[in-house]
């Protein structure tokens, strides 16, 4: 959620509050931290001998290191290979084909900047990177159909149908209703275009919409027959039937303006059986409401019954099961349904801190600190055994998030505005048996947590890449004017675990694709199991 229009919303949460007449139905999970549990996630117990552990707080890149040029930190994760290319922006995915090739794909910035001016690019679009040899990631081609020119946060692989998909984000301002599908089944190094077609046009046999959905976020149901578009512009979630990928059609729409939290559509996930969706609601509190216990919450998530969509019933409807509001966070990003020890949980991730986001300064972080709340967004784990009343199990707060450390971390981000030490995307090692959760926390890099005890997660590894000394034209860190030479990267994309090779793959915006290897046997854990289908 990063377009200009949205910055205005984020910077002025009162705009949200004024329109939220339906608020008040959600439960408040903001301060529901279990007792006797540390506020922050315990730090890694020990790093490998050759690692470069953090020198300040957990997650911190101190101001002095930023000024002198940050050389990176790592603990129990070592870089195997990197493909920097032209950098990237918001989403990434991997796929292993039947012949054993392993490939990575990631979004890069649009060919126009935020004001519509052309960006000088050599290889625009989604690079296809062969990581079969993780020590030598090699770009084979780039995908340049409309949605692939900037999938924004929608780039996903569906393993069951062996397809790469994206909707057309394009700076979340210039996009359109196009959805692109590529076949990965033959050779993941050479994806083949299946279709690039507009959805919700009214002529596709689907439901009639007032407006076609515009790209930004998106995700598959695990069976690969439904692709959900999270449309922030029109504030809707759209179920697109992609059984026939050359004729995708919108078959149901969830109008967020009528939902109880009153927030905005963004990321989502779908249960393994396709009968539940977990939609986020983008919102936040105004500075004056941060300490108001009666303030109505707009940031959070919905548990939605999607069984009619999954069953393709005529006139299928979404049914709201529950809504959960977040007090100490904003700008909800996405969710992941997982099972730990046979019990269902939901990972929920914000991309805005308690005080919201501001395009122009870090006033949101300052406001949160003043209110004694976390200035930066984080991942959380909710117990959804009772899906009508999700209960907070834990927060994945680093030391940088602790309000007590505000005075130590705010100087680090002087002159910067958005994201800084916040979270964005997370992934688990196996949705059906989650033991590890990896998250990208922008300036803090890649963070990996042991979540076998979801109430008491602990950090087991991190990798925060060195700051880039050159601007990458495909990086939105650069496009958004937040890049500083030698400063920490924006690590924000999805991550993929590789059980067989003990690898973790992701993309950071300046450093590009990173393939990392776990050290010290921190993962896989004895309880970890391989997953054939990773659809975080």
């Amino acid at each position: 959620m990063k377009n200009q229009k949205f910055w205005k919303l984020c910077a002025v949460p009162l705009v949200i509050a004024a329109s939220a007449t339906l608020w008040g139905c959600g439960s408040d999970s903001g301060n529901n931290t279990p007792t006797a549990v540390p506020l922050t996630v315990p730090k890694v117990a020990s790093c490998a001998a050759s690692d470069r552990p953090e020198t300040g707080l957990q997650g911190q890149v101190p101001a002095a290191l930023r000024a002198s040029g940050f050389d990176g930190f790592n603990c129990n994760l070592q870089l195997s290979g990197q493909y920097q290319g032209e950098g990237g922006n918001w989403s990434a995915a991997t796929f292993k084909d039947g012949a054993g090739h392993v490939c990575a794909y990631h979004a890069t910035g649009y060919i126009k900047d935020l004001t519509g001016q052309p960006v000088a690019r050599v290889n625009p679009g989604v690079p296809v990177i062969d990581i079969t040899d993780p020590t030598r990631p090699t770009r084979t081609t780039s995908l340049t159909t409309p949605a692939m020119l900037d999938p924004w946060e929608s780039l996903r692989v569906n393993p069951r149908r062996q397809v790469l998909a994206a909707d057309f984000g394009a700076n979340s301002s210039f996009g359109g209703p196009e959805v692109d599908f590529y076949d990965l089944s033959g050779d993941c190094r050479s994806p083949q275009l299946l279709s690039s077609v507009a959805v919700g046009t009214g002529s596709d046999g689907g439901i009639t919409l007032a407006k076609s959905p515009l790209g930004h976020e998106g995700n598959f149901a695990p069976d690969g027959l439904t692709y959900y578009v999270g449309d922030i512009t029109n504030n809707t979630y759209n179920a697109v039937d992609v059984t026939n990928m050359t004729k995708p059609k919108v078959i149901a729409q969830f109008d967020m303006s009528k939902a109880p939290l009153g927030g905005i559509a963004h990321g989502l996930s779908v249960s393994d059986d396709g009968n539940r969706a977990y939609f986020v609601s983008v919102g936040g509190l105004s500075a004056s409401d941060l300490n108001n216990p009666n303030a109505k919450l707009s940031d959070g998530f919905y548990v939605i019954d999607t069984s009619e969509v999954q069953a393709r019933k005529p006139n299928a409807q979404f049914k709201l099961i529950s809504s959960t509001g977040i007090r100490d966070g904003s700008i909800a990003q996405h969710t992941i349904p997982i099972t730990i020890g046979g019990k269902p949980y939901l990972v929920f991730v914000d991309e805005g801190g308690s005080g919201g986001l501001s395009l122009t300064d870090n006033s949101g972080a300052q406001a949160a600190c003043n209110a004694g709340l976390s200035p930066f967004p984080m991942a959380r784990i909710f117990d959804i055994s009772d899906e009508t009343q999700p209960k907070l199990a834990s927060k994945l707060m680093l030391e940088t998030h602790d309000p007590a450390n505000c005075s130590k971390v705010l100087p680090d981000i002087a002159g910067l505005s958005v994201f800084t030490y916040g979270s964005h995307y997370c992934s688990v090692d196996n949705r059906q048996n989650a033991t590890a959760l990896a998250c990208n926390y922008f300036n803090s890099g890649v963070r990996v947590f042991d979540i076998r005890d979801p109430v008491r997660p602990k950090e087991i590894a991190y990798y925060n890449p060195a700051g880039s000394r050159t601007k990458q034209p495909g990086s939105n860190h650069v496009m958004f004017g937040q890049w500083q030479s030698g400063g920490p990267d924006w690590c924000a994309a999805r991550l993929d675990f590789d059980f067989e090779r003990h690898l973790l793959t992701t993309m950071c915006q300046d450093n590009g694709l990173l393939v990392m290897k776990f050290e010290n046997n921190v993962w896989p854990m004895p309880e970890s199991t391989a997953t054939k289908e990773q659809t975080n």
């Binding site: 149908r161 083949q192 059984t243 990928m245 050359t246």
Partner: protein
């Protein structure tokens, strides 16, 4: 008996096979290699070409559902574009939709793909393969599309929208049109046109290609064209270094000297979640009848019992006879459609009814031969997934139900059409009638497609 069967086979012009996957995949892959494409590129082009025959959801089209008697001009137009390229679109009388081998209409999609910008050429190879399909089919389907008359004409087809092989090339109930050995000159012309198209596609990241001269290739085609069994086709490919011949699965030629038990993994078809049809516009009782019927048909080896369980106990009145088969013939035909080597069963499966006593005996012999039947654990496994065209979306189903006019006695009738995985070039349909308050299966028939 042998003499009789030989004569019967000649009479029926030996329904067999195909510009099927031996051409659309195998020959295309070989030609691509000769044109200088890398092995993976050649396989990708061939895969795209072959998938047009029931290899992806957008290509699943059943004549029973779109024209016989279903009415769906959108799907009918897609069938025409993919398999029967004609300058005149759907709907139009078949005489106006004559297919001309290798004409501009047949080559239109190829021409468009050849214009692909070089930076996109690498990820458009699959689509390029798709574009070769109508070009190649324009030779096997050249002429005026035939008018199917399934169930002895009791089920009417819309002549203006149905597309099946011209009568002169075998017609609607035969695979002859696509059998290379019957059309050697056409096969050579088709291969030459395909080769030219392959040479004209832009260079990919693999760099410029070096193609062999066509005149070097031409003599090699003789063995391919003449091959009369899967074994012979396989030998031809193996001799040319193409070792994965799984693409020959399902072609209508007999296995030959060696049983052919490979499975081609190149289709991109999603799994059917449930054996129960979710086709909304069909009454529940009828859906449930077909659910049970198709599940049993796909998994049983006892076709006489299948008929006892699902067919009427006694034959309806004579005036209803068009849609009715005797129980013995129905059992024999249901068994023939379960024979894995469709080339072995095709003559009888496609033979007009009623079957003679000798044909029934032969059907029994083929069906009960050791290992003859395709084995499936469920109907989801046995049939290709299908998408009924209804208002809104439909879940995938193993069959599509189409209503029929009531019987002369006023009994409701319907048919359900499906495609067995082991016989991908045929659509089979079961006609059912509500007799004495219960739905019963009264006949089976098929249309050879694509």
């Amino acid at each position: 008996m042998r003499l009789f069967l030989l004569a019967l086979g000649l009479c029926l012009a030996a329904p067999a096979s195909a510009f099927e996957s031996d051409v659309h995949f195998g020959l295309t892959e070989w030609l691509a290699l000769q044109a200088g494409y890398g092995p993976q590129e050649a396989v990708t082009i061939a895969t795209g070409d072959q998938r047009v025959d029931s290899g992806d959801m957008q290509f699943m089209a059943l004549a029973f559902a779109y024209a016989c008697p279903g009415q769906d001009h959108v799907t009918a137009a897609e069938v025409e574009a993919h398999h029967f390229p004609s300058a005149v679109g759907i709907p139009a009388p078949p005489q106006q939709r004559t297919v001309l081998a290798g004409d501009a209409v047949a080559g239109k999609a190829v021409k468009e793909l050849i214009a692909t910008p070089p930076d996109k050429a690498g990820f458009m190879l699959l689509r390029f393969g798709e574009s070769l399909h109508p070009l190649q089919d324009s030779w096997s389907h050249q002429g005026v599309p035939d008018l199917p008359q399934p169930f002895s004409g009791a089920v009417a087809c819309d002549a203006d929208s149905v597309s099946v092989a011209p009568k002169a090339r075998g017609g609607w109930n035969s695979h002859k049109a696509d059998l290379t050995r019957f059309w050697p000159d056409d096969t050579v012309a088709m291969a030459k046109a395909s080769y030219e198209a392959l040479q004209n596609y832009p260079a990919t990241a693999g760099g410029p290609r070096t193609a062999r001269d066509w005149n070097e290739l031409r003599p090699e085609l003789g063995g391919f064209i003449a091959a009369a069994t899967k074994t012979d086709k396989k030998k031809w490919f193996l001799a040319r270094g193409i070792t994965d011949v799984s693409f020959l699965e399902g072609i209508s030629l007999k296995d030959g000297a060696q049983p052919f038990d490979l499975a081609w993994p190149g289709r991109r078809l999603p799994q059917i979640a449930s054996p129960q049809s979710g086709q909304h516009d069909v009454e529940a009782e009828l859906r449930e009848f077909f659910d049970r019927f198709f599940t049993t048909w796909a998994t049983t080896g006892r076709f006489d019992q299948l008929v006892r369980d699902f067919a009427p106990a006694k034959r309806p009145p004579r005036e209803d006879a068009l849609l009715n088969m005797g129980t013995r013939e129905l059992a024999a035909r249901l068994g023939l459609w379960r024979v894995r080597d469709h080339g072995q069963a095709a003559e009888l499966a496609h033979a007009p009814g009623p079957l003679t006593t000798a044909q029934l005996v032969e059907a029994g012999r083929i069906t009960t031969a050791r290992g003859a039947l395709a084995r499936y654990a469920s109907s989801q496994e046995a049939f290709f997934p299908l998408l009924p065209r209804a208002k809104g979306a439909s879940p995938l189903a193993p069959f599509i139900v189409v209503p029929l006019a009531p019987s002369p006695a006023g009994n409701p009738r319907a048919l359900a059409a499906a495609k067995f995985r082991h016989a991908p070039y045929d659509t089979v349909a079961i006609a059912a009638e509500r007799i004495d308050g219960r739905w019963r299966a009264v006949a089976v028939d098929s249309i050879a497609e694509h």
